[in-house]
Symmetry: T
Subunit: 71 residues, 12 copies
């Protein structure tokens, strides 16, 4: 019986939304084992002094609850 | 003062969405104490070789934060 | 000229969402004549002491306004 | 490279929404090969003479486009 | 690289929605370090014996993941 | 078996949205017995001659259908 | 203090959606005093034997609760 | 057992949205047998040189899958 | 490189929603050059003394930013 | 013929959302003549060092286009 | 008279969402003549063994119905 | 007291959505001082003769109202 949980995170990159999502995934897998997918909820950017300083992406991260937790 | 938190999970059953929700609740209460309610967000099914192999339900689980945590 | 009105109700059953909707329809037709349809808006459940005590369904009930009212 | 297409159908059963979805899936796989999933969009019921005569479910059906079509 | 996570809570106050949100924030910061913002998702009230007994607010709480977690 | 009905009202106050909701609740309980909750759907204000003359709130009012009606 | 209530109706006309809304308003004011506005929620049409037989419009009807009711 | 499918089309008319929907229905029934209804999803207009040159309407078209297809 | 801006307006007509949208477009093109399209967001009507006194339509107006502004 | 335009602003107050909306209205009427209403779109708060430093409200501001502009 | 139809597809690429959309368009134009536009509905990614194995994009594809079909 | 305004624009690039958003921001900052952020609302593409000729992105642009305007 597969049970998954969904977390929501926001990550940032100076390079673009694709990169921000990749960084968010990299960060998420450090604490969450069993990730099976991500989903983009929102794409924004923060501007300072007339320059885009970071692209921000809000992601849902889906991960399986581990067997040991289920036992 | 009542404070509740909301988690989102996805669970599955070969028998139907009602059963998938019941299994998701059974799984959730193993790790979350003080559950007061659930809410259905999405109902899907996964198909393999022309057969529905599992019904999937995404649930919000609402649970009270415990006194010891609040103290 | 057909004119219909839409009411919103919430009903409950200990057995499941399908049953809660059937009970809600049974209750609605005691006061509303000329029902032509129902539509599910929301499915929730209430939990007490680690058990689901009732499945809750919010329904739109569509019913025709009667001729005598229209006359 | 996986490419999938999404169709929307509505199916009906006198027995309940779970059954209506199963019948809709049965019907869909007669014309669509490579179905990988379904998703519930809407649950309604049609009423005649004070009785629910059919439960209606609107489903998205996801299916892979076949290799021969892609070639 | 800033990474934030989003939690959802519900809090209550007998005095109003503004106060319920403030109480929810007070509670959230006891367990979550690095909160950068909150967002109101829903405002409700619970009624008993013809009196509003508590105002309920559902909040998203946004908080930074700490350096030690990222290291 | 608990069955509830949902009505939608709009109420107004010159003092603010919190007060408009309280007035709406006061008004609603004069005609509806068994209210169990309210939910805020929309907050607006009406302006005349450069002054806000009333704060407007649209509320869902949930109330139980009485036993005598159910009997 | 102005308090308004909101009802939802569906009306039909063989001539078009504008006409269906006008007929719905005509019907609504036979039973509801103090109407201040309407709002279109949905526009559909019913087809039989390859012809559109009626245009259907779902309307919110906003009406003031009367003083005598408030007194 | 009734099974219906839903297609989405966009049609245009220089005369208005009502006319655009009627033209879209006329076009749809040339290729789709068994249409039972349409639903308006979006109303737009295209402007050239300061004049509205066509009103655009996006429609869902609901049609029954034929017996021969089901057999 | 085409850049467009989007404004939102509300316009009114005693004759119907189609006419209200046409009047809104006429008004908008007096101040906005380079309009390329409009989109209907909401259709309402205002009622006084039991009569619809004006049909109200909320429109998005899309217009190109002019070259001189871009230079 | 009444034509209104809709602007969106975000305003802030250290005291609460009600106050933030009032300040936003005060600011808006300095540049916009003929305001007839406001509508709340979003309520958030910004947190620094474990304290809410400002409540933020996003508002739609509705204002009539002036006669001189229409002439 | 322009009539367009809208199909929904999901496509995938190991490289990113921009590439997944381009591949989906390439695939769509093999079977659909007269495509005039695409629209992104959803961006997800599938993860296996701690790696993103494909970026998934759900697209609406808008295409003109051909003259020969209309004739 | 911080007050921000929100404008909506659409921009285009032959290279992709990331580039279209960057171009839209470049264009926006020529006329709007004090931009603090952007948010993606919609991603589309326009197709001619079987080729994507431009990627289109609809953006909200958030900018502070200047002190001199506030004075």
């Amino acid at each position: 019986m597969a049970i998954a949980s969904i977390s929501t995170i926001t990550s940032a990159s100076p390079d673009g939304w694709q990169q921000a999502a990749e960084l968010g995934f990299e960060r998420a897998r450090k604490t969450l084992r069993g990730i099976t997918g991500i989903k983009v909820l929102e794409e924004k950017a923060r501007v300072e002094d007339g320059q885009i300083v970071e692209y921000l992406v809000t992601l849902q991260v889906i991960f399986l609850l581990e067997e040991s937790e289920e036992g």
